[in-house]
């Protein structure tokens, strides 16, 4: 009886492994690509509101840098962690646009305006983490 259960569980386990491998290759990241009408051409103030920047940050950055920018997998970037390291906001925008080490480039995923807004957002956060 238990032998049967073991075999069934093992077959299901193998199936799970197959799904795992298939998803490694087929799953595409959900892109936070801007809606064309929202950002086409010059940005409207609405798309760059602080709330919008916060949302972009949650979707695109928080998984690695933490919801508060305190750093998880990527380093802390909230407030002074950013402003001390990048005196010029432009330099930080360049890093996010081009990518750095384990962090991919965001140029395909976010518009320049969105990157600018997200960077401004992290620089405005209260400094947390190390």
């Amino acid at each position: 009886m238990l032998r049967r259960v073991a075999i069934v569980v093992e077959v299901l386990g193998l199936l799970a492994v197959a799904v795992f491998v298939a998803m490694l290759f087929t799953n595409q990241p959900s892109v936070t690509r801007p809606q064309p009408e929202a950002t086409g051409g010059a940005s409207t103030p609405a798309t760059l509101s602080p709330a919008h920047a916060k949302e972009l940050y949650s979707q695109a950055c928080a998984s690695c840098h933490g919801e508060e920018g305190e750093g998880i997998y990527g380093p802390a970037i909230a407030g002074e962690s950013s402003t001390k390291r990048f005196a010029s906001e432009q330099d930080e925008i360049a890093i996010v646009t081009a990518g750095l080490g384990q962090m991919k480039s965001f140029s395909a995923e976010l518009t320049p305006d969105q990157i600018k807004a997200v960077v401004a957002y992290v620089r405005s956060l209260p400094t947390t983490g190390g």
Partner: protein, 195 residues
Amino acid sequence: MAYVLPGTTKASRAKVNWQLGVVVVAGAAVSLFLGVYASRHPPAGQPTFGFSPGSMLAFKSWMTTLAVFFAVLQLLSALRLRDKIRWPATVPPWLTDAHRIVGTLALVSSLPVAYHCLWSLGFRFADQPLRSPRVLIHAAAGAFFYGVFVTKMLAVRITSVPRWLVPVAGGLVFTALMTVWFSSAVYFFTGQLGG
């Protein structure tokens, strides 16, 4: 059906060596594949399975802890099957099947965790000045875990491999999982990783 301990059937020395080579190379290939994938696949950088970024790490930590719990049961049942511990006094007839089931559950509970690590985070050794040895140790132990798991599974099936192989591989599976857990979930639970 009586349980045949792996490594206790008679086979020629050449055959034993050949099979030993196959199971070790198969495991090494799995570890290598995971390492190559982690370093080549562009990290998706987002949570998976509908989790918010904040709850993703909690989910991963608890799933890994669940796998560790199953792994402890595996260690104990393996020790009993090999008479290294004498409790219970007689080996319950269902113990080998239970060992198989719990082992599968341990593997399956680790998969969603590894999926996020590999697909969403990845590992760039060459172009990243490593921020902490934790990340390096964690990545190596994770890749090693699945490789030695495969070696162990094959070794259990091929009963003419050397007698020491299954317990050694099993012990390494356990050690690798504990290393993975100590280098991630423990940091999360003690507040050293955000989330």
